[in-house]
Assembly symmetry: C2
Homo-oligomer: 332 residues x 2
């Protein structure tokens, strides 16, 4: 009898997440009930937010040990009890870390096959939409302004920075290690990159951005946020996308100095967002992103790990800073 | 020969500001040069921002020891070399802590004498404008929402809270001591007040606002800001007006936990503002504020200290939480 391999979330990490917090489980094959669709997972997305879901309630309830680990995926319809889907359709949804899932049709999105499958989970999916709405609707960069992006070599950061370039800005990124810095400036088109692991972020920002920072797209919180606030220009905007410097620690560090002091004196707007709030304009964003990719203005780098069994090590590797661009796992 | 008494800023405070940081100086009487106006000061405003001006650069350069202490005032024109002003005119401006000033006409605002003079420095002046634009343009309260104001018994806070009441909101204030709490609920019309000096602000907020907070008008930063962030509703707004909990200390405390974590997950907008940015709409605000005062919807409480010699003790008293409403000193 065929089984459905699942990665269960086994244990709440008290510090860095690793394979020991997950458990492989062989479940029985699911069957599509009334109105449901049976999907075979082909690609699973690895996202920093996963770590936040383990730590507490976010924009979703906290993950509970014993549950199938949550995550977004791309798959192929095997069988369907819904008139909206047929076998062979390419679909995405919140599949969780498992090879098969039976899911209500309403929770699936169908994708045409023009685009490479990895782009659907990357630049044309939640990753790209997050960068698009966060940069343009929250950050609101104007041509000629200076934009800083933290976590710049990551999935969202690398797209967000390129969108700011397309918008006519000077773009600076922070990331960990000289290799990713070189990649950002040589391959992705950032104007400058700062290796936060070398320290002195505040001083380097001052050297690289003597004109100050107008928009900061914050994926990390922590030290880079604090340094950015000190360098923000009057009426600067901070688009708060994530707080990855805090996800993988035992306890939250203190909040950034300069809040609310700099916010008042420099009239800074600091605004958090979650991509789901913008889904009513999803099509507009997808169209723009697809066109920029087609025109070669937007490089959608993908980092694919082969094999479902590598899910936990892929997630741990992301927090160790091993990936460039969008990290995903090819299932089977 | 007549002298012009001045309070000089003598020494940078390392902690709480007190009379020892100022020095009385008898200067010679100023004379109005070409295009200038000689003004006799009648009322001087005491503002929390003064302390921030001593600590470092804000939206203005840092005060330097030896300078006449900066501050806003109301006065009467004694003589004028400008066709725009005549002796007897009531004017306001940044006079500094002194009895007389010769000032270029362009730096004066003329006021008609319909309104009580203390309102010009209070509810119809920078204080009222700060509350008006901060609450309505940054906080954007909607009827039925819950609004929290810190420093609620102060000049700006007491007006900001009443504007939120006029906008149809439930309004809660934080202040120091049971007497000011009672004043807020019994006299000013707040729905509830929390004495932050009793501690447990987070727990009390939870009891008083089980529905969460939609708008937080922040005059204080510090503990109340941190507690408010934890209680903010989705899409909540924090209008950052001041950081008074940090002005009078030796070193800045750590920033608030929950930044940027709560900002992301709850899509909070946190935005600083300075009233000068809204001066192009000054008339609109003054008209509205004057009308609310006339209709009895807005209580503009004034706390007047008699005597120019009491300027430093009045400022120290404000940081000790002694005033209710707008604090000012009547000169001579």
């Amino acid at each position: 009898m065929a089984t459905n391999r699942q990665w269960l979330y086994a244990q709440k990490p008290s510090g860095q997440v690793g394979p020991e917090h997950f458990e492989m489980h062989a479940a029985t094959m699911p069957e599509a009930g009334p109105g449901e669709v049976l999907v075979r997972t082909t690609l699973l997305s690895i996202d920093p937010a996963s770590r936040a879901w383990m730590a507490g309630r976010t924009y979703r309830s906290m993950l509970q040990p014993g549950e199938v680990m949550a995550g977004w995926g791309l798959g192929e319809v095997i069988s369907s009890n819904s008139p909206k889907f047929s076998p062979g359709d390419r679909v995405s949804g919140e599949f969780g870390w498992q090879e098969f899932i039976a899911v209500p049709a309403a929770r699936l999105t169908k994708h045409d096959k023009r685009h490479p499958p990895e782009h659907i989970l990357g630049v044309l999916g939640i990753t790209g939409l997050t960068a698009y709405f966060g940069m343009l609707d929250i950050g609101k960069p104007r041509p000629g302004e200076t934009v800083l992006v933290s976590g710049a070599a990551g999935a969202v950061g690398s797209i967000a920075g390129q969108i700011a370039k397309i918008a006519g800005c000077k773009v600076v990124g922070t990331t960990g290690g000289p290799e990713k810095c070189a990649w950002l400036t040589n391959e992705v088109g950032f104007d400058a990159a700062i290796d936060y692991k070398q320290g002195a972020v505040a001083r380097k920002l001052k050297e690289i951005c003597p004109e100050g920072i107008d928009v900061y797209f914050d994926n990390t919180g922590g030290e880079v946020l604090e340094a950015a606030l000190a360098r923000m220009n009057l009426w600067g905007r901070v688009a708060c996308c994530g707080n990855v410097s805090q996800y993988d620690g035992a306890a939250p560090a203190a909040g950034p100095l300069g809040v609310p002091g700099f916010l008042v004196t420099k009239r800074i707007r600091m605004e958090g967002f979650v991509v789901m709030d913008f889904y009513n304009r999803r099509e507009q964003a997808e169209t723009a992103l697809a066109q920029w990719v087609r025109e070669g203005k937007l490089k959608a780098t993908v980092d694919i790990v082969e094999g479902f069994e590598k899910m936990p090590t892929a997630l741990a590797g992301m927090f160790a800073g091993q990936n460039k661009g969008k990290l995903m796992v090819r299932v089977g």
